[in-house]
Symmetry: C2
């Protein structure tokens, strides 16, 4: 497999031929090698396509390692002071999508089966910095996930199930199911497949690139 | 090289032995293979450590491909209405660090030479969504970078130089130098090495992990 070299003075660079490029490495990327998760076929040494959603025997979602190295999607902030002191989420919502599914989304413009979208709530910290008055991130608060799987969660709207990993800084290693109704009430009104793409330019740009081909 | 498998039911998974794991692949991660940039030694087939900062012959910074797949650092928002209508940056600031340097930062707690930190300004879009009133991202506005290189930019405070790739959606392929004084005025007051770590819990958590070892 030969990689085209981009953004480098070509006269100073050799094309590099890489003999073996395991798919898992490409997908999980800069995750440290000692924490790479690969889905392997136990009956052979062939690797199957890795998926970010892994479950324990109780059907709870395994918390991904290094989720902060996933693809950042958006970070809305809904502070208490703009919601009569009663914000549903008085924090920043740092939203990520797993790299495998983002790669598929860029090609198809659709969230593939197995998509994991994480929401990490982050408190409002400072409200004034050299760049001006506003909202700046403080401390991590909690971590939740939504997973699309129309086989495993065929009873759920759009096949999306919701999980919660608890409070920072000691997130649980597995996330228990949340009541879908509590989450889907809002997500049913989302732009695209229960995801608020309208407020996520990163996703819109990825989709536009796909559509312009 | 054997990868330990994490977060997967171990009884269903085989340890996978990968014979060849090129460093560039590990570092650049989920970047599409056709846009991976590798710094290679032209006098041999050995790859050297890739760096995110690449320059053209005029010393302008090459714009990285797929910067939105770098490590997300933070997203402060400083809207006009909170700054007497005269915000210096009336947008969200989506801030990213290159994966290579983030990996080094996790180990050392310091920004290595060659660190690239990108700031993509994103307009405020909606101010009300099902999650509440607040600030939600609209459209990309512009893209800027700061690069640490105490050899190349030895005259600059901390070795940091600043570049600008222009306006969205047609960012330029190379970024011209900005006047350091225009940027360093604020960045001199930053928490850590000209970076506003105080408002970036992602960086603080990475540093804490390093310090707890």
């Amino acid at each position: 497999m030969t990689m085209k070299l981009a953004h480098v003075g070509r006269q100073a660079i050799l094309a590099v031929t890489v003999a073996v490029v395991p798919l898992g490495i490409l997908v999980f990327g800069h995750t440290p090698i000692d924490s790479v998760s690969l889905a392997a076929d136990p009956s052979s040494t062939k690797m199957t396509r890795p998926t970010a959603a892994q479950y324990d025997t109780k059907g709870q979602l395994m918390r991904p390692e290094d989720h902060r190295e996933w693809i950042f999607v958006g970070a809305p902030v809904t502070p208490n002071e703009l919601n009569d002191g009663k914000a549903a989420f008085p924090e920043f919502h740092n939203v990520y999508i797993d790299p495998t599914s983002f790669a598929a989304y860029k090609k198809s413009g659709k969230f593939p089966e197995g998509t994991v979208i994480l929401k990490e709530l982050v408190s409002v910290g400072s409200k004034a910095m050299p760049s001006g008055n506003g909202y700046f991130q403080g401390e991590f608060v909690s971590l939740e996930a939504m997973v699309k799987d129309n086989t495993r969660f065929k009873e759920e709207p759009g096949g999306w199930a919701f999980f919660r990993f608890g409070e920072a800084p000691d997130y649980k290693p597995v996330g228990a199911r949340m009541k879908t109704a509590d989450c889907a009430n809002c997500h049913t009104g989302a732009t695209e497949d229960y995801v608020f793409t309208a407020t996520y330019p990163v996703l819109r740009a990825a989709k536009a690139r796909q559509m312009s081909k």
